[in-house]
């Protein structure tokens, strides 16, 4: 009941905006911009002919692969950079230069290298999500308190135990933060990448709806769906904060 009460203002705001939108369309007699009801009808159309699910599936698949690859790459690399000073000093400056380059800026090169198939957007997602995860993992290792490392040293445990029972569990909450950031960026990027040159995905759907007959109802429908999926992806990542391995960090 409390949670419903807490979300009431937010829901109220959204309802007000939709009402204002509808009123604006009604008062201006616009022929191009769709009313809320048109968007619902357009979305229903896509649901019925099945294309919506194909687009969502294509986008999620690209994000899944690109993000998964980035995670497999960032985790060991971040741990290594956090643990070995030489690796950090060598790689960190390069990553700090690459990190601020918008994934959108990579699009021409991605197309040059990988063509316009699935590989290009997957590469862009990889590029966009790998750096935040490397940075967070490295920072996580650097933030391990000395007293814990001292204790491990004191008990004379093996390197394997040190990593398995001290370093990795200590870093995991930070890794999770990196994953949340990484997945958020990945979702931003997949839509942008699909707008350029592809035949599926929510980004393609938006561009295609505009190009093929100014279907702005479908454009807005696509935007809202992107927002809702992004929200649920983030909610899923937040659920991970409850798992046993990281709960210690949030329980206070």
């Amino acid at each position: 009941m409390d949670r419903i009460n807490e979300s009431l203002p937010a829901l109220g705001l959204i309802a007000t905006l939709i009402a204002a939108w509808w009123l604006a369309v009604f008062l201006t007699h616009t022929l191009v911009f769709p009313a809320p009801w048109d968007v619902v009808r357009g979305t229903w159309e896509l649901v019925m002919n099945g294309t919506l699910w194909d687009h969502i599936g294509a986008s999620l698949m690209r994000v899944g692969i690109g993000f998964g690859l980035a995670l497999c790459f960032a985790l060991p690399l971040g741990l290594w950079m956090g643990w070995v000073d030489g690796a950090y000093r060598t790689l960190n400056p390069l990553f700090q230069i690459l990190r601020p380059i918008s994934p959108i800026a990579w699009i021409p090169i991605a197309i040059l290298w990988f063509g316009i198939g699935n590989t290009s957007p997957i590469y862009l997602i990889f590029i966009s999500s790998v750096f935040p995860m490397i940075v967070q993992t490295t920072a996580g290792v650097h933030a391990i308190e000395k007293r814990f490392l001292r204790a491990a040293q004191n008990f004379g445990v093996s390197r394997r135990t040190l990593f398995k029972q001290v370093v990795i569990p200590a870093v995991l909450p930070q890794v999770l933060v990196g994953m949340r950031i990484g997945l958020g960026v990945a979702w931003l990027v997949v839509v942008a990448a699909e707008m350029i040159a592809l035949r599926s995905g929510l980004g393609y759907m938006i561009m295609d709806s505009r190009n093929a007959g100014n279907r702005y109802d479908l454009v807005i429908s696509g935007m809202i769906i992107i927002g809702l999926i992004g929200l649920s992806l983030d909610a899923t990542m937040r659920l991970l904060e409850g798992i046993r391995w990281v709960r210690w960090r949030y329980a206070h």
Binding site: R147, N154, T161, Q165, R247
Partner: protein, 252 residues
């Protein structure tokens, strides 16, 4: 009694803007096997640095720490350090923390050993709890139990109870004495609390302000269980406080 620890002319300086800052200046004393020695000194005098050197975490500039006739170069599980902040791993349960030091062991009864010591320190029933679910006193018990599990020969305690409230501090002292009566080891305690030193130690080493050196060494000739409030103990306390530069009136 056999000499367990021999501290030979320890010196340590730290680098500062104005050149090297001497912290420990020529400290030498010996500790017999099974003896409990407390080191008291004014705050900031270099007590903790001294303890870090004795436990092997920090290398002295000059001098040596000799244990059983062998100079120590790095920490090992024969001497466990318990510090003020504590180093119980927050991501492991009490049982996993206790089993941590047994990781190298082949024995399949690691869990039994861990639970045995949990019982000894009065944590029976909390084996599956996480540190954030425990009180400050229980955390200290966990830390002590984790040390006991590896059957150390020496226990280094750096202000172990000073973060606890007065009541819990008193309880933990009694608890420690009870455990010491059961499991014998050589103990080194660093504290600023003279009363705690008199309550626990066989001998008390009094340090000067920084750069620290030994000002005096006192025997504590009282049999356990001790009453710190008795006249002789109070006289000893005043004498030590005077060595520390605290006047009688301040102490009362």
């Amino acid at each position: 009694m056999r000499t367990k620890i021999e501290i030979r002319g320890l010196k340590k300086s730290f680098a500062s803007d104005k050149g090297p800052l001497p912290v420990v200046q020529d400290v030498s004393f010996t500790v017999s096997d099974g003896e409990f020695v407390a080191v008291v000194g004014p705050s900031g005098c270099g007590k903790s640095t001294l303890m870090s050197m004795m436990a092997g975490f920090v290398q002295p500039d000059e001098g040596a720490v000799v244990i059983d006739g062998v100079p120590r170069s790095k920490p090992d599980s024969k001497g466990i350090l318990i510090s003020q902040q504590g180093s119980v791993f927050p991501w492991l349960t009490v049982r996993e923390n206790l089993m941590f030091g047994l990781n190298g062991h082949k024995s399949d009864n690691r869990m039994e050993i861990a639970d045995h010591y949990a019982d000894i320190v009065g944590l029976k029933g909390f084996e599956e709890s996480f540190p954030h679910e425990l009180s400050g006193g229980m955390l200290k018990r966990t830390e002590i139990a984790r040390a006991l599990v590896v059957k150390p020969e020496i226990l280094y305690m750096d202000e172990p109870f000073s973060a606890l409230d007065a009541l819990m501090n008193m309880r933990m002292r009694k608890e420690l004495l009870r455990i010491l009566a059961k499991e014998r080891f050589t103990s080194l305690l660093i504290t600023h609390d003279v009363e705690e030193a008199i309550h626990l130690a066989d001998r008390i080493v009094v340090l000067s302000p920084r750069p620290t050196r030994i000002k005096a060494i006192f025997d504590v000739p009282f049999a356990h269980p001790r009453k710190v409030s008795c006249r002789a103990a109070q006289e000893l306390r005043v004498t030590i406080l005077r060595e520390l530069g605290v006047d009688r009136e301040d102490a009362e």
